[in-house]
């Protein structure tokens, strides 16, 4: 091809920056889509003249031995897809399914159409698309040798949960994240089409954050109750991150992690009756900026000992942040939540509103479970939030080169397994 005179318009758009002598430095000079090796998270400096829709061309950075979509700065949209394997888990069925789905993910996240893609044009703007696959407990128990070494167990029942069967645990999950809803819809459809021969769809949980570019990069999200949500979170840049998030030990799973899914419905009509003082006391943070009630800025350490002039704690010990705060380093995990808001005329206010809580941890029992137990026991926020869905998945490491996600678990190298 090499720069012939025949220019396709889309190609021109994609490679515009390079073609015009790098004028579009803002989005990384050469065509982002064209080079898989480019970690496409170069800073987009404000004020740069842009010739093209940069965000659409951007690829999620490669995540090395991990699947992408975990440390990836959260994209604007998610579709979390849960499947149950038809006729129960079989090795040949899941293997074939994961081959197809991994191939789809590879191509689509690179901005290329899937194989036999009937709408190839819809793949043109990857918009940091990621697809992250995971397996539920039943898959581990039936299809993986010595599953206890991987250590996935179902979540215990928590007091206060109001679980609905329609959001229950599934065999397979795909977390599909993208900054663009059209690209996401296409990727999701492709995955559903290719999975259908092997698995029945149980649910798709859709969620969103602010649109890309709405807030400065790195801004903590707000949930639909208006709270700054996720201030205390593990940062991939901090040394403790790897130890808390990535599994080690068993070679088949090293570099993998576990995903906790909690679908949390909010009682917005009830929350409407709470004034700002009550709302802030419930959380322990100010609504305006997320600062703890004892601090000035969002990231100030809360002072749980501070008392007001009557001797009462400034931050209520029953407030959400007082109860949720990790008591030990081992209780930390990565949160990657999304809001959801669906029309539901049967509900007060005509909407089903809530939070799709997604957390990644290398040890569910040591991190999420004790924190959630504490919250289930006492948390002022419980009056307005209820978990209606709950599931947990093993998220395998990245697929081997030319292989599929989960291959190390489903078809382990014999020597490796024996030495594990």
């Amino acid at each position: 091809m090499g720069g012939g005179p025949t220019w396709d318009r889309r190609r021109l758009l994609r490679t515009g920056a390079a073609a015009f002598g790098g004028a579009g430095v803002g989005w990384g000079a050469s065509a982002v889509v064209a080079d898989r090796a480019v970690a496409a998270d170069q800073a987009t400096s404000a004020g740069t003249v842009q010739l093209t829709p940069a965000a659409g061309a951007e690829l999620a950075p490669a995540a090395g031995r991990h699947q992408a979509g975990i440390t990836t700065a959260p994209q604007a949209h998610v579709a979390l897809i849960g499947w149950d394997l038809r006729g129960g888990p079989t090795s040949s069925g899941l293997t074939r399914m994961m081959r197809l789905l991994t191939d789809d993910a590879r191509r689509l996240t690179a901005g290329e159409p899937a194989l036999a893609d009937t709408e190839p044009e819809l793949a043109a703007y990857p918009s940091r698309l990621t697809v992250t696959f995971g397996f539920g407990p039943r898959v581990l128990d039936r299809l993986v040798r010595r599953p206890e070494r991987i250590g996935l167990v179902e979540l215990p029942a928590f007091a206060g949960d109001r679980l609905e069967e329609s959001w229950a645990q599934t065999d397979v999950v795909a977390q599909v994240c993208c900054d663009d809803p059209t690209t996401l819809a296409h990727a999701r459809r492709m995955l559903l089409k290719d999975a259908d021969a092997f698995a029945s769809l149980r649910w798709v949980q859709e969620g969103f954050r602010t649109a890309r570019g709405t807030t400065p990069e790195g801004t903590t999200m707000r949930n639909l109750m208006g709270q700054v949500d996720g201030t205390v979170n593990l940062d991939p840049a901090e040394p403790a991150f790897d130890e808390r998030v990535w599994a080690a030990g068993d070679q088949r799973f090293a570099g993998g992690t576990f995903l906790v899914v909690r679908r949390i419905r909010m009682d917005m009509a009830g929350w409407d009756r709470v004034d700002r003082v009550g709302r802030e006391a419930t959380i322990g943070r100010r609504l305006a900026d997320g600062a703890p009630l004892t601090g000035q800025n969002e990231f100030d350490e809360p002072d749980f000992e501070a008392t007001d002039r009557y001797g009462f704690p400034v931050i209520d010990p029953a407030s959400h942040i007082a109860r949720a705060r990790h008591r030990t380093p081992a209780e930390q995990f990565l949160r990657r939540a999304y809001n959801y808001d669906h029309t539901d005329l049967s509900r007060d206010g005509g909407a089903d509103t809530g939070l799709l809580f997604l957390a990644y941890t290398c040890d569910v029992a040591a991190s999420f479970v004790p924190v959630q137990r504490r919250l289930a026991e006492i948390d002022r926020l419980n009056e307005w939030v209820k978990a209606i869905g709950s599931a947990v998945y093993a998220i395998p490491p990245a697929a081997p080169e030319d292989g599929y996600v989960g291959q190390q678990l489903l078809e382990p190298d014999t020597d490796e397994e024996d030495n594990a």
Binding site: M1, G2, G4, T6, D8, R10, R11, R14, T15, S30, A31, V33, A34, D35, R36, A37, T95, R96, M97, R99, L100, D103, A110, G111, E112, P113, L115, A116, D117, T118, P120, E121, A123, A124, K193, D194, D196, A197, F198
Partner: protein
């Protein structure tokens, strides 16, 4: 690239995408990325298939698709094909009948790929017709398609079996 401008829209997008990939990586997949040397006497060395796939089915026939790539500076013609899953395999084209309906028929002379060019096999167009299937062609498995070229050299290609609901056009004259 000059060949792909003649192709259908969907195909163009596929072609452009694969060329972009080739531009940005060290390994060349696209036909025109590296000029052919023209020294080879064996056409098979200059022939490849990009993104080969087969439509999954539990019926008696199905079809194989992909982009035939000729990296040489001579024309190459695919004259026949066999597969690991069928007893009878034909090279087909899709034609429009007088009444406007579309139908498939064997393509006289096979598929000719211009020098340094491509020839796309796709639903609704040319394809490799697989008949008398010897086994179910199951999604997620691999079928080997062996192409015979006009110099009698052969190329075997591993093709991914994909779920696909299209590609069920009528057969010309109901002969199959």
């Amino acid at each position: 690239m000059n060949t792909s401008t003649k192709l259908a829209t969907g195909v163009l997008a596929l072609t452009v995408a694969s060329l972009l990939t080739a531009c940005g990586s060290d390994t060349s997949e696209a036909a025109t990325d590296e000029p052919a040397t023209g020294q080879s006497t064996d056409e098979a060395a200059q022939f490849s298939v990009e993104d080969p796939w087969v439509k999954a089915t539990d019926e008696e026939m199905t079809a194989a698709f992909g982009t035939l790539v000729n990296e040489s500076d001579e024309e190459i013609t695919v004259v026949a094909a066999t597969t690991s899953a069928s007893d009878m395999t034909e090279l087909h084209e899709t034609v429009q009948n007088d009444d406007g309906s579309m139908a498939m028929q064997a393509k006289e002379g096979g598929f000719t790929i211009p020098a340094g060019g491509e020839h796309v096999l796709e639903p609704g167009g040319d394809h490799v017709m697989m008949m008398d299937l010897t086994e179910p062609v199951e999604a997620g498995t691999v079928v080997t398609i062996t192409f015979t070229l006009d110099d009698e050299s052969t190329v075997a290609v591993e093709s991914t079996v994909k779920p696909f609901t299209g590609a069920d056009e009528n057969y010309q004259g109901g002969e199959h």
